[in-house]
Symmetry: C2
Subunit: 232 residues, 2 copies
């Protein structure tokens, strides 16, 4: 299986700039694996032996402490996860599990570090990627510390709405219990938050979300690219 070149992986920003030779070297020890839904991939605290690239499906990165659990982020294809642990040869800070049937390319961490030293294009791409990840988590922290749960939900809905191109209605791409965990609240609290947002122009019907009064919701949510946007 290791003679495959994983075209979806090659086209990722992270691997696009490197030489064919180094890419082949990197993939020599890599293998593609398919997992059923709800399978544990990684336990926090384990050594980061592989860089993971999610080719299809969805993965939940979560963490436990003192009998509590929270979802830190959701990974969608095509992207890598736990790059930082691989670079530092450290233990994973988060556990990972598939949410759906998922195909994942696993690249030995030592190969990633070795090629990093050989290929300047790859090194540059790793830095740019890590910087983006860092900024994304900073935004998460600001979101948690500066906003109430209701405000986080309002901004999440606006963000999805915008990402989909502001359609009349759209479906949540997460189970509500998952969404609650990502937003840092309980499912019960999320349920009540949805109700509370009716007063700000949000209509909910199962998975279907309709933003009936975008101006009103924005006035409440006060979205900002310094917390909510994905890019820059």
């Amino acid at each position: 299986m290791s003679d495959s070149t994983f075209p979806e992986v090659r086209s990722l920003d992270l691997f696009a700039d490197m030489s064919d030779e180094n890419y082949a070297k990197l993939m020599r020890g890599a293998y593609l694996q398919t997992f059923p839904p709800h399978v544990d991939l990684i336990g926090e605290g384990e050594g980061a032996d592989f860089l993971h690239v999610l080719v299809s499906g969805a993965v939940d990165l979560f963490s436990r402490w003192n009998n509590r659990e929270t979802s830190v982020m959701i990974v969608k294809p095509v992207s890598t996860f736990i790059l930082a642990a691989t670079i530092r040869d450290a233990r994973y800070l988060m556990s990972a599990r598939t949410m759906e049937k998922s195909r994942i390319v696993m690249i030995p961490s030592q190969d990633v570090r070795a090629i990093f030293d050989l290929d300047a294009g790859f090194a540059r791409a790793v830095v740019v990627e890590l910087a983006a990840c860092y900024r994304s988590v900073i935004k998460t922290t600001k979101n948690l510390k500066l906003r109430t749960a209701l405000e986080r939900l309002a901004n999440y809905l606006l963000s999805r709405h915008r990402a989909y191109g502001a359609p009349a209605s759209f479906d949540l791409d997460l189970e509500k219990r998952q969404l609650a965990s990502v937003l840092g609240m309980t499912p019960e609290n999320l349920s009540r938050a949805f109700k509370a947002l009716q007063a700000y122009g949000v209509a909910v019907n199962g998975e279907k979300i309709e933003i009936t009064n975008p101006a009103l919701l924005q006035k409440f949510a006060k979205p900002t690219s310094l917390i909510d946007d994905d890019q820059t």
Copy 2:
């Protein structure tokens, strides 16, 4: 002033591995500036024109939204800040202000990016540094989402206690209002949290903290290297 070589900066992990030539090139456009206490250095949303290196003093990285403010992290010497924005040529996500009289070396961002492409040792150091920053913020997120304010304070005290070598007593290195903001709570709430921790073997007298019953406090705080430690 640009003929100085800033020896404190040179010895940083970030710059230690690069060639003398490239280091000189990087510092050609850099300059050292001294700031009084409580001076605004950076406003969030501004373009990241400079990488900052704190040589002495202390800097607060904070953020505002909707008339609220929170301290995201405190920078102590000698270390850089806002490396990620520099790398991505993006806007700062956090504001910065001096807490004390501080000396700061400012390196033009474009020079950082240019040398990054020239010097593999520097590139490697940047990646390792960014990965550490990323992991640190992930820990912050876990701390916020998995723990109550009381638990965060308990673990903060244990962490400082350990960092100082478990002395009989030690001084807080932050103003209490600053600490409250870092821990994601109000000063009033922090005050009550200190009182509540008396029941778990913590004695507070102004700045002086005494952990009279480490075992009891640990039993309550349940510290873990996956959230609390600084390294790995």
